[in-house]
């Protein structure tokens, strides 16, 4: 490896982060901090309106962390991500209404349906170039929405209403504040799960595929299986998000699952920093709260979103809080643990340990 990879440009972070600020950003307690803020929030603002928006934001965080698995870790562009949310929401709605089950009992059905949907779309397209996947997922998003619009079981254009809330251990959690807490705990576990997945063996394989698919294949990674795994994990996260969405609003209709929503989730991932769970969480919170503050601007705010998306890609493609590359041990095997394969921030470059390109040894 070390001969082929220009290791002088590969970022390597060995030892402590250089500045206090970046130490703060990389601190392990940060996740607990965010969790604590989310828990304290209802004590500050507990109006129905605030709880409604906060719960929506928390569900949006779940969606963004799911899309982060697909786009951030594995580098596959999914433009119809909201379709998985739709599959999850409709499955939860239909099953819980038909058998009068509490929504949480629909989780197995939701998992089965979303995995099936992920397989149907992923299996044929993941063998092709990654940009085919982008457009097929775009089409898939439309298929799901139109199908929900046309079928009678999904309630047609008016959708499904009267979906029960969450009941757990005999407790009724369907009031705004308890439901918010339930969402926070549920989503935190899944966000933690996605972060752990990113650090697992599979997560390293995803990153490798994202950086260089051919090299990954040559190193013995079954790229097709790995990509399909990313796609299906993303689908599961999206489906569970849909289940929460259905329980939250108690009514779902095809209008909730338009392309705009997929684009907003993508926006959260891209702005936050592809591949970095913390950045994605912050991005999701910002993107879901921003429309509340920019309500007066009408459709102009989406123009700004579009322009920002272009500007971020041109000027700072790694996002505002990019993933940092760490090496698991202080080895100098010269392995390319590069981040998103795009430009690196100047601060990052300054901290590089100079490495002899030929041998991979630190100078």
């Amino acid at each position: 490896m070390s001969e082929n990879v220009d290791s002088s440009t590969a970022p390597r972070r060995i030892g402590k982060p250089a500045s206090r600020l970046s130490a703060l950003f990389e601190s392990k307690q940060l996740g607990w901090g965010a969790f604590a803020i989310a828990l304290i929030f209802p004590f500050i603002l507990a109006s129905n309106y605030a709880m409604n928006i906060a719960t929506t934001a928390v569900i949006f965080v779940l969606l963004a962390s799911g899309l982060n698995i697909v786009v951030g870790y594995c580098g596959l562009l999914d433009l119809g991500y909201i379709a998985f949310m739709a599959v999850g929401a409709y499955t939860a709605g239909i099953v819980s209404k038909a058998w009068e089950l509490p929504v949480l009992f629909t989780v197995p059905a939701v998992l089965v349906m979303t995995v099936l949907a992920g397989l149907i779309i992923g299996a044929p397209t993941l063998r092709l170039r990654s940009d085919y996947l982008a457009i097929v997922t775009l089409g898939f998003g439309e298929i799901i929405r139109l199908t929900a619009n046309n079928l009678t079981i999904t309630g047609g254009p008016s959708g499904i209403y009267g979906i029960p809330g969450i009941h757990l251990f005999g407790l009724d959690l369907s009031n705004p504040v308890p439901f918010y807490y339930f969402c926070v705990v549920f989503v935190s576990l899944l966000v933690l799960g996605s972060a752990r997945l990113g650090k697992s063996r599979l997560g390293r394989a995803w990153r490798f595929v994202r950086e260089d698919e051919d090299a990954a294949e040559a190193m013995g990674i079954h790229t097709y299986k790995v990509k399909l795994a990313a796609y299906i994990f993303g689908a599961i996260w999206g489906g569970l998000g849909g289940m929460l969405f259905a329980a939250h609003l108690s009514a779902i209709s095809p209008q909730s699952f338009v392309f705009l929503q997929s684009a907003l989730v993508l926006m959260a991932v891209v702005l936050g920093g592809m591949g970095n769970t913390r950045g994605v969480v912050v991005g999701a919170v910002v993107i879901s709260l921003l429309p509340e503050f920019l309500r007066d601007m009408g459709n102009l705010r989406y123009v700004i979103f579009g322009v920002v998306l272009i500007l971020v890609m041109v000027l700072r493609p790694q996002g505002f809080w990019p993933a940092r590359a760490f090496e698991p041990e202080k080895g100098d095997d010269g392995s390319d643990s590069g981040e998103d394969g795009t430009k690196r921030s100047r601060r990052d470059r300054r901290k590089l340990v100079p490495v002899n390109p030929a041998t991979g040894e630190k100078a």
């Binding site: 786009v71 580098g75 562009l77 433009l79 779309i121 044929p124 397209t125 063998r127 092709l128 170039r129 990654s130 940009d131 085919y132 982008a134 457009i135 097929v136 775009l138 089409g139 898939f140 439309e142 298929i143 139109l146 199908t147 619009n149 046309n150 994202r210 051919d214 392309f259 684009a263 993508l266 891209v270 592809m274 009408g298 459709n299 102009l300 989406y302 123009v303 979103f305 579009g306 322009v307 920002v308 998306l309 272009i310 890609m313 041109v314 493609p317 998103d340 394969g341 795009t342």
Partner: protein, 297 residues
């Protein structure tokens, strides 16, 4: 039956016009230009704006006015396509694919909501509505405007084909599609050729937009989204990157759609189209006329 075939071919010629731009750009720089469908929408709105500025147009003049507007719109949308390439895609020419795709989504978003911010989110009614007598040909009802639009579409496609086959710019485009680095070494101004490609592709999409606006009479700012997807499907059916394939794919998709919605009902038309896309990608991803491309590392 003949009615279905005629309807399919008519709609298919719109798809073909838009698919051409998709396919040309993809063939040359391997970029899926998501904003392409929105250029079509933009064409419809520019046609709407210029036609409205003419004031009241007598019915006898509507075809002439439409042709003038068509030409004007093609130039403007072509210019906008070039602008998008220059601002959004060129800085990322050597970036990973993911970055360029996301930029394309951003460009599409900007165009859609930019138009809705300027023109308002409600659908607009086109000032010129093509009406004419209908003929019966082999049991199919064909109207005069349909024939006019079809002739314009076919002329544009034939013109493009001879442009690519006969002129030196066309040869340069084919060369870059084969090997961009080699063409650069042979002294071809690659950036200029890419600019022209975007100009031509966007001009064709703009023309299709004006024609669709004049024929259907109603335009809205999201009209490019679905049609962009369908044009991509057409390009895939024909073999993406292949000019004749895009035309063939467009017509074929129109026919498939006409028969599909006859069998399944109109509300399933779009679902059927995307199912065709997925089926094609599974069974024959190179399309009907495309060549098998092995990626070089």
């Amino acid at each position: 039956m003949t009615q279905l075939i005629w309807n399919g071919l008519f709609v298919g010629s719109f798809y073909a016009l838009i698919a051409l731009g998709y396919s040309m750009v993809y063939g040359i720089i391997k970029l899926l230009n998501f904003a392409h469908g929105d250029i079509y929408m933009l064409g419809a709105f520019i046609g709407f704006a210029t036609l409205s500025s003419f004031g009241v147009i007598p019915a006898s003049m509507s075809i002439t006015a439409l042709l003038i507007v068509l030409l004007l719109t093609m130039i403007i949308t072509g210019g906008i396509g070039v602008g998008i390439e220059r601002l959004a895609y060129r800085p990322l020419r050597n970036s990973p694919r993911l970055a360029v795709l996301i930029t394309a989504v951003g460009a599409s978003f900007t165009l859609e909501y930019g138009v809705s911010a300027i023109a308002g989110p409600n659908p607009k009614v086109f000032p010129v509505r093509l009406q004419g007598e209908t003929f019966d040909v082999l049991g199919a009802r064909i109207s005069a405007p349909q024939i006019v639009l079809m002739v314009i579409a076919v002329l544009l496609m034939l013109g493009l084909n001879s442009y690519i086959q006969r002129t030196s710019m066309g040869r340069a485009m084919r060369a870059i599609a084969l090997d961009p680095k080699g063409s650069l070494l042979m002294g071809i101004n690659v950036n200029k050729v890419i600019t022209w490609t975007f100009f031509i592709g966007s001009a064709l999409a703009g023309a299709a937009g004006v024609m669709a606006g004049a024929y259907y009479g109603k335009i809205d700012f999201l009209m490019g989204f679905i049609i962009g997807l369908k044009a991509f499907t057409a390009a895939v059916i024909g073999g993406i990157g292949n000019i004749k394939g895009a035309m063939l794919g467009g017509l074929l998709l129109g026919l498939l759609e006409a028969f599909g919605s006859q069998w399944l009902g109109g509300e399933w038309r779009d679902v059927f189209t995307f199912a065709v896309l997925i089926a094609f990608l599974t069974l024959k991803p190179t399309g009907l006329l495309g060549e098998r491309v092995t990626e070089r590392v």
